[in-house]
Symmetry: C2
Subunit: 340 residues, 2 copies
């Protein structure tokens, strides 16, 4: 039995003009929607993850407490559960899967939230990494709906350096000739391993490695960690799916929301949610200074930097101290009563 449900979007018109035929969102919910439908939280997924990757924050007694909140986790287009290159019928499969934006994802999620659940307000939009990008997009696309915004280790628009980082992993993956422009019979395993090895340097900080924190995770050597953690993490992902998500990530920018004409500052200034931005101190591709920039344009924004050496993966729940920091901050944000 699937651990998630599907929401059919039909033929879904995309921001860049294509139509995704038979589009669908995979999602999972946690907790109960209250009678007045005031306790819903949307918590989209991150790159190369499904709803399961979000569950460390969700449950009884956790920050997203299922005794109080109804948590909807929609899966990102391209992640293999929602419409993706790997699960879409020809001719829109594989490398022909159309480009989807953060805006497209949130428009689909808005249909899920309003049509399936009849929800008109969200207590919070929260996400980590690419999930943070979707949370930002929620706050810009639907300022009337989003009471609180909590982007964690993410950004309102993908910075030039972040784009370059993504170019690197993309180039490493596609350097494997067996990738064959996306028309592979067998997975491009060499490319996936190269992708993972490049990612390994970015996903955690210099200090994480200096302190040999991977030994605490049970890996005897650096090479064991590269194979057992990083290569293993990406080995089963479909290469076209990864590339579809990378495209979405590279092109993320709330300024590209219709009506803002590319003006990221204006899009940020339109946010009415109470915002709490949580970059991670040593994040190598979503550095805290980028989020300081965004905080400067959001009318009601606080910024708290997640401490520690886990860098980007501080947002993944693997570091107990970072996890506790994030949980406490989210509880505090949720306990704040919007004044209106």
């Amino acid at each position: 039995m699937a651990d998630h449900e599907l929401f059919e979007l039909g033929d879904f018109a995309l921001q860049h003009g294509d139509v995704l035929p038979g589009a669908r969102l995979a999602y999972r919910t946690y907790g109960q929607l209250s009678g007045d439908k005031s306790n819903a939280i949307v918590f989209p997924t991150w790159f190369a993850g499904t709803h399961e990757a979000n569950e460390w924050l969700i449950g009884e007694g956790k920050a997203l407490d299922t005794e109080r909140y109804f948590v909807i986790v929609p899966n990102l287009f391209g992640n293999g559960l929602s419409s993706s290159p790997s699960n879409t019928a020809p001719p829109h499969d594989r490398a022909r899967f159309p480009h989807t934006t953060m805006y497209d994802n949130v428009r689909a999620q808005h249909r899920l939230v309003t049509e399936r659940f009849g929800i008109g307000r969200l207590a919070m939009a929260v996400g980590t990494s690419m999930g943070a990008g979707q949370a930002y997009q929620w706050a810009v696309s639907h300022p009337d709906m989003v009471e609180r915004l909590a982007p964690i280790a993410g950004s309102s628009h993908t910075s030039p350096h972040n784009q370059v980082f993504l170019e690197g992993i993309r180039a490493a993956l596609t350097a494997d000739a067996s990738f064959n422009g996306g028309d592979y019979a067998e997975p491009p395993r060499t490319g996936l391993r190269a992708f993972a090895r490049v990612y390994a340097g970015w996903g955690l900080s210099q200090a994480f490695y200096w302190q040999r924190e991977y030994e605490q995770l049970g890996f005897a050597t650096l090479e064991d960690f590269l194979i057992g953690f990083w290569e293993s993490n990406f080995a089963d992902w479909d290469a076209n799916d990864l590339l579809a998500m990378i495209w979405t990530w590279q092109h993320a920018d709330v300024g590209q929301t219709p009506g803002f004409g590319g003006d990221t500052r204006a899009a940020l200034a339109s946010i009415t949610a109470k915002a709490l931005l949580m970059p991670s101190k040593k994040d190598l591709y979503f550095p805290p200074e980028d989020e300081e920039w965004s905080a400067g344009y959001i009318p009601d924004a606080d910024l708290r930097v997640i401490p520690g050496v886990w860098g980007h993966l501080a947002a993944g729940g693997g570091d107990p101290q970072a996890a506790a920091f994030i949980g406490a901050a989210l509880r505090q944000l949720l306990d704040h009563t919007p004044h209106e």
Copy 2:
């Protein structure tokens, strides 16, 4: 006419037991050796560079002033001028080229300095990046010879994170099947481009890209910069040569000098030179905190952090402010009279 000279080492025994037959060092000298041979500086090359890449610091009126100093620039094994996979006769060519260490490089350079020039003391050992690693090795291998030590944007031993960064570029290069274990007829161009695109994220800082400094360099777009600067920079390098230098870099550690049994701290403590360590503020693979660690063990060490957003490439002379900072610091170090 070649712009460099060759020093023949004969069959050169290497630290790990192999012999490099017909080994040779390519080098160039600048300025005149003084009568008492007291004015020599050794300035080894960095990764994927030759002596030409060092010349921004050398010349009349420059920090390494050829009116005062005799500057010897020995080329790193593997860089295509000194013995390398690309210029060594079978069967020791290509992927069969033996592994060379920082210790091996400095032992060869020591023969050049003493046998060809009869020099017994060096006013300074200086280098950037992998050149800094060789400068450190000089100070540990020959404490009796090295009066001043100036490692710039480098380290005394390659940190675990730096090793992971190098694994990433290695994996990207070799993911191209035309690399063929090093036995390529034509260069593995796809792999070299992937290598360059991964490198692009590491070689400069997040802030460099955020501020779109590449536009100041004449590149209209990020993609232009990736192609015109990064891909162009590595396109003509031999893949086996790059991998030979990467091996040397990954295994760099002054603690591996014979007599120290792997104890990096003890090797640093043995340095008698007056040392000035210059990490670059936003260097992503030689971060300043690693050099603070090294400075803590060297008896007479100062540390000055190169300011600005150029990250690792601050050590390449392309950023005028960083170049001026480095030049001024080297002048000050050279003007210091050793007390002995």
